[in-house]
Amino acid sequence: MNKHLKMDRPATERFLDETAQNVLGTPMDRPDGPAKAAGQATYAHEWQIEGLCHGVLVRATIPAGRVARIDADAVTGRDGVLRVISDPRMLRVPAQGGANEAPDQGPDEVAYLGQPIALVVAETFEAARDGALALPVEYDPADFTVDPDAVEPEVPKKKQASQGDLEAAMREAAHSVDVTYTTPGHNSAAMEPHAAIAVWNGDDLLLRGSYQMLKYNRNELADAVGIDPAHVRILSPYVGGGFGSKLGITHEAVAAALASKELGRPVSVTLSRQQVFETTMRRSETRQRFRLACDAEGRMTAVGHEVLVSQLPGQQFSEPVTQATPFAYAGPNRVIGHRIARVNRTCAGSVRAPGEAVGITAMENAMDELAEAAGIDPVQFRILNIPEKDPTSGKPFSSHTLERALREGAERFGWSERRAPGQRREGDWLIGMGMASAIRVNILAEAKARVTLEPDGRVLVETDMTDIGTGTYSILTQVASETLGVSTDRVRVRLGDTDLPPGPGSGGSWGAASSGSAVYLAARAVRDRIAEAMGADEVTLKDGHAIAGNRRVDLAGLFDGPVTAEGHVEPGKTMKETRQSSFGAYFCEVAVNAVTGETRVRRMHGTFAAGRILNAKTASSQCLGGMTFGIGMALTEELLHDPRDGHIVNRDLAEYHLPVNADVPQIDVVLLEERDDYASPIQAKGIGELGICGAAGAVTNAIYNACGVRVRDYPATLDKVLAVLPD
């Protein structure tokens, strides 16, 4: 009685529009909220375990070479230091998202400065930290490269594409731009540093950690340690933010597991904030050349997007900057280029919305430049160039909401008040407006979930899926509540335990639609059992009662025992046959100080569409968060690498500047009503990353409108604005 659905056909039966509970989509408070607000939610480092000892990772102080000698005796035994662990199974880099196997191991081979090379374990955190700082290490240094511009980059054949004749189109166009934008590296900087507590029971490893994708993390950890995944259980019921940095298993998990095995005691390892910067994934810096052209009416004829990113030697992942370029805007002549500079810098990987976060951002700047060259309003210019179908593959869009988002957002924001650049001044402040489109590819991922109707009418939802702040507890509660007609306070959701049916993990914005669909399918199976028990073909379920014919029966007591079903959703033909994306539009008003060049964001608005919205409150918060990432990207965030050895100079929160409360205005978010039948059985698409995919472009376009300064080198710090600010 389980339910499996492969998404081979559009889900035109919109069942959840016909149900009676009317809770899906409402701005319900998070069920996990009261515990979080009271400090009672237990994060990875916080389990109270008898006999726990503490490990601190030791960092390499050279950018490349071999660890020749570690003098463990110099610190062992002193001040409660129990052991120095330097095991070849420890990780050199974290696992990339979805790796499903151990990443590069062997910490004695140093690939970047700051790489963990050993673990010092002690009775107390203080002693472990002191031991880690005091541990004598000798190296055999090797040659290295840290400047992406100084190496001959790799040009992977599979990542180049072209159609038509871009050069001819550029030559013949009425208007064109050939501009290069650069974005610096970024760090996810989730507020909870990576942490793990390992406990062994015989051959079984129990790891309490902070990870996003447990189905894969279990296999990665097992592979790294060298045991069968059946002997590994990971618990991550609460994750203090991830943004990509916790997609794969990270150094602390393997180090804690190995140390715990060796010592026969539970071991806790938490990365320091500096280690989070140095050893978890960075978003690569990018250099992006745009060649865009249009005819005299503003219809685009050319889209060229060629990028340079960087990565460690041997790593497959490279920032997919051009991911949405093939379908974002119309134009018959197209070129996509992708080059990778191999450098000894911290491993590059996923940071919120890999690809579009930087690719659409810079694209939206270049579009702003072309709109101006053509003398067309930027909103109109984009509407004019929305393609009928994917201009690269020729596939139809599953749905396309960009025009609606642009029009409704512009109206709501008051875009018609925008003036020509540099025309509005209030005292020392130059005021300007900018906009950008939001575009993010949509993905459905395989997911399973279990739903149980208890004999007392309560409902239990179970999956290994995580809630990293995204609202999983909320939306799965609502999907089950809606499908089974049970009030939300009678639904309990258990997450973040590898013993539970595997979900897709939190990443790539696929979590809500995928796990939501799995829960929906499981609940539909339970519904079928209820109908059967009622002796009816169809039932109405509402407020804990089943209604069929003229009977109304309490779900409590309908069955003698629990009724359990598993739901299983898989992507299918609809994903291959249609181009799927979520869309939106950003509008921003900034004030640029005419004396200092400082930029303040005064107003920001986002209108977004992502299929069926499952919880208006959590979806809106995801967009707020994404747009704030955009403000950081536009104005302050920048990983700085020492040109001598590549190390990250600003490796803490005092030097790497996240937006603070005073940097962010009361952002306005509007979610459009939409159903995408091709996206998932519940007509929902991803929204978690949509809010960042272009947001920074709206800010920098507003800076241009305010003062006529086009900053093409992110972030738009005041020195860059001031240098070219008109008198």
Binding site: Y43, M191, G240, T628, D652, N661
Partner: protein, 170 residues
């Protein structure tokens, strides 16, 4: 070394390394894990607790310096079952997402309202001596020592404004 800490009205005898921060004492020795460690350097505010009525970063002070002080942590403000007004407002306004910075935000906001009531000015105050008007700009400025990467800032401002108005009406 031995220190006597008064936390949320209860006395705790702490036997710990002199290098133990107040934050690590709370989290690793006393099981009070509501206060969070985000940076251990006073840069994020996740560890904010209230000591003798003032909000401080618990990671920037040693436990042994607080013998006899009155310390209030998130656990002392309310529980999931019986939350304070501020805790209730953070949930209602979605003033958090992952929840990791939240206890620090709530401790900070609770103490901040007291500072305003006592007439402390901030960087954005127009008048340094007059009565404080709790504008959104004042709330944002005074809460800028508490980072939130999920970026619930607008909702945090909403929650604090609602709490302040409710308290003023009572």
């Amino acid at each position: 070394m031995r220190t006597e800490l008064t936390i949320n009205g209860a006395t705790h005898a702490l036997e710990a390394d002199a290098r133990t921060t107040l934050l690590d004492a709370l989290r690793d020795h006393l099981g009070l894990t509501g206060s969070k460690k985000g940076c251990d350097h006073g840069q994020c505010g996740a560890c904010t607790v209230i000591v003798n009525g003032r909000r401080i970063n618990a990671c920037l002070t040693l436990a042994c310096m607080h013998d006899g002080d009155e310390i209030v942590t998130i656990e002392g403000l309310g529980t999931a079952e019986a939350p304070s007004e501020m805790q209730r407002a953070f949930v209602a306004h979605d003033g958090y997402q992952c929840g990791y910075c939240t206890p620090g935000q709530i401790c900070s906001a609770t103490a901040m309202l007291d500072e305003v009531a006592q007439g402390w000015p901030s960087h954005v105050s127009d008048d340094l001596t007059g009565e404080m008007d709790l504008s959104d700009a004042e709330i944002s400025e005074r809460m800028s020592g508490n980072l939130c990467r999920c970026a619930a800032y607008p909702n945090i401002v909403d929650a604090i404004r609602a709490t302040a108005r409710k308290e003023a009406a009572e």
